[in-house]
Amino acid sequence: MSAQLEWITEADHRIKTPVLQVEDLAISYETRKGDVPAVRDVSFDIMRGEAHGIVGESGCGKSTVAFGIVNFLGRNGRIVDGHILFQGQDLVGQAPEELRRIRGDRIAMVYQDPMQALNPSMRLGDQMSEVLIVHRDMEKAAAEEKCVDMLKRVYMADPANVMRRYPHQISGGQQQRVVIAMALLNDPALLIMDEPTTALDVTVEAAVLDLIAELQRVFDTAIMYISHNLGVVARVSTKVGVMYAGEIVERATVREVYLHPFHPYTQGLMRCVPRLGMDKRSSFLYPIPGRVPSPANLPPGCIFEPRCDYARERCRLKKPELRQMEPGHLARCHFAEEVAQMGWEPPEEMLADLATPLEYDREAEPILSISHAKTYYEAPSKQLIGGEKLYVKAVDDVSITVQKGETLGVVGESGCGKSTLVKTIIGMERPSGGEFEFMGVDVSTPVSQRDLSIIQELQMVFQNTDSTLNPSFTVGAQIGRPLRRFNAVPKEQIRGEVVRLLGMMKLGERYYDRLPRQLSGGEKQRVGIARAIAARPELVLCDEPVSSLDVSVQAAVLNLLMEIQAELGTTLIFIAHDLSVVRFFCDHIAVMYLGQIVEFGPSEAIYAPPYHPYTEALLSAVPIPDPSVEQKHIRLSGNVPSALNPPSGCRFRTRCPRLLGEICETEAPPCQHASDEHRIHCHIPMEELRKMEVVITVGD
């Protein structure tokens, strides 16, 4: 047989001009203290139909690059150097009128928060068709027809009906679909997406990511995808650029970057995120020490040098260039070859800081036991007079026990009642029924009626640190307050104790007199944790404490929580939506759906068959930052039904991909025990559940 002909694809004769070519871009913001170079020396290109990811921690200039492309830099921002070639034409230096036309017709942008991108006072149909009416002079009827078509393409159920609704009348995932549909109406050559799924649940996120991948194929649209989440970028992009402090430090295909990173920063990022399957007893998370330098105050040599484990004299003196390490793989490091060769050993001071996780006594009496807990919110009746009272059943018949010193993870989509459960335990919501026993004391009373000693033993860490720290009190005063309230230490020792706590949080005494606004996100969360543990509580409830933090900060906070637990023997209840974090951090996991626990068990048991069908779907949706991992493809359709009127029988049946039949509709699922500690609420017989395939398989 003759030699194989070169496989010529139809794309081979097409134009080779990249859709977007950014060359040596530098963007500065003018401030009173002079120009701040937010982005420097950034170059990358995106070919037609390609998805290019940009990852990096917050404040490293990802969004500034995007804003530079669409000229949204604001009054004080400007492009000081470089070129942005869009379809062969330079956007830098074009007349504003030309720019407006090119950008309006051929570039579209999708932002993080769909609610902010949509006008709350206009019907969705009106705001969508406006795009076509204004840009294309279309007739209203024709424009609306086109909008309905586009909504169908993004798999919006009942599009004609959605057109008549207002933004608040549809869910977050649907809003994001509307925004994406709107962005595609003009058939853009380039679609810039700035963290489009960050505000969404994992299941919705997975569906939106699938949609993006499909649209990219069908419409041949080039996509620039900005995210801080390594897993999400790995799922959608073909190539990825890693940004650090305003520069691209590494750029290659997704596989290369994830499996063979050259730059110390990229390697550091990989060590910060728990891989699914890792747990705290077998491995560690290694945060990157220090923090991103402010663009106004950059180190003279390599920008990563102050945080780099491999830094040498040359790194301090000379700024490295972005060099080609292998064909198509660029890195900005003087010693990249060596760094990639050398194995990484954690420095000694870091090892000394890493605590061995607490081994709790599995036989001890439970510290918290809840049985048949119910928290209902009364909803206004639909009738004016009389009528039945309606209840939103936020938590409905939940039973859990927590052992002293263990960590219980609670996972589930938003609106499943995780936070309500925690708020009921701590007494911020009054339970509608059930028994709550904490250290042998009944705690079904609201916090105002509780004994001070009980309040002291139960503390909470919140997700949003900005709204939980008082902006006008100093850090010292805020951490000192519980000490004063609970008389935990004599008055004259309070300052000393606060300083000790600050030390434990790795913050130091100089933070004592600072105000919250002078702290970074991670530091604020540390203060929040210090405040919660100040009075030495037995149980700390953490409501998504790391969700809003960058990966390297997240690793540091998780390590800190582990250390506190090992030192004080604190019991933790940990709410999170990131399943790899929960797997890593928790001993037991409760999976909640619509106010009920559908699966409960030791964390390793949750991640392997038998699964509850809902857990299976959740696992299949987690974005994993490892291209060698294979995941089963299961997508849940529809939204979480309203807790006002939950489905009869099994609550998950309306979305269940493994629906059995009538029995799911008529009867509440029985509790089946896979092992002593592992229980699943499902009609599917245990033998069938055991036969399920593993959702996540780690490749070579």
Binding site: M1, E10, I15, K16, D105, R136, D137, N186, A189
Partner: protein, 217 residues
């Protein structure tokens, strides 16, 4: 096989105000021969081809180099383009053979694809030739056989059956009447992963048909 599947989406386009010096450079740098000119909302205003950029010497007032330069700098794409109403366009849902016919009849190499006056893509003779190559299996290696059959119903079925009887699959197939003998029909078949001799042996037994050409490529 419709235009929308084979056209180039998001073609490079120009604004009417682009100078022809710039347009010349733009087309050269990006190696394109056709440049649609669009206004607001990607409405097609015209088309610039290499011919449009050829400035007739007769139009020049003088051959003074300074005047030529001045004349050229003032010329924009709008002045030289083929105006939209004279540009032959095509819709997305047209079949590719119809597209080819339009190109052949009008002797043109490129058709902007429009939807309601808005440019959604461009399809050129190269796109069609690339497709033709695929239809004939020109992008894969295998055995290419030309069978000469009588021009009547049932002959192709006979050939296909003979191939199927061997358990082979057909990768690509195309055919046309002989230019000089309308009673004969040539069918070209591309088969993959089969030895050439076996193909000849099997197909020469097909009654009434003749193997006129076999090659491995």
């Amino acid at each position: 096989m419709l235009v929308k599947d084979y056209m180039t989406r998001h073609p490079l386009m120009a604004q009417p105000t682009m100078s022809i010096v710039e347009a010349q450079r733009f087309m050269g740098e990006n190696d394109i021969r056709h440049l649609p000119v669009v206004g607001d909302g990607k409405q097609l205003l015209g088309l610039v081809t290499r011919q449009s950029l050829l400035v007739e010497p007769g139009k020049l007032g003088s051959l003074n180099i300074w005047e030529i330069t001045g004349y050229l700098t003032e010329l924009t794409v709008k002045d030289v383009m083929v105006k939209a109403k004279e540009v032959i366009t095509i819709e997305q849902d047209t079949t590719i053979e119809e597209t080819a016919r339009t190109m052949v009849q009008r002797k043109i190499g490129c058709l902007p694809v429009v939807d309601d006056g808005v440019v959604v893509g461009i399809i050129t003779e190269t796109d069609l030739l690339a497709k033709f190559m695929e239809v004939m299996g020109g992008n894969v290696s295998g055995v290419r056989v030309t069978m000469r059959t009588p021009n009547k119903v049932g002959e192709l079925a006979k050939l296909v059956n003979a191939i199927a009887a061997q358990g082979w699959g057909i990768w690509a197939l195309g055919g046309a009447l002989l230019p000089k003998d309308r009673t004969k029909y040539d069918v070209v078949v591309k088969l993959r992963h089969v030895p050439k001799d076996e193909v000849v042996a099997a197909l020469s037994k097909v009654e009434g048909q003749e193997v006129v050409d076999v090659r491995e490529m």
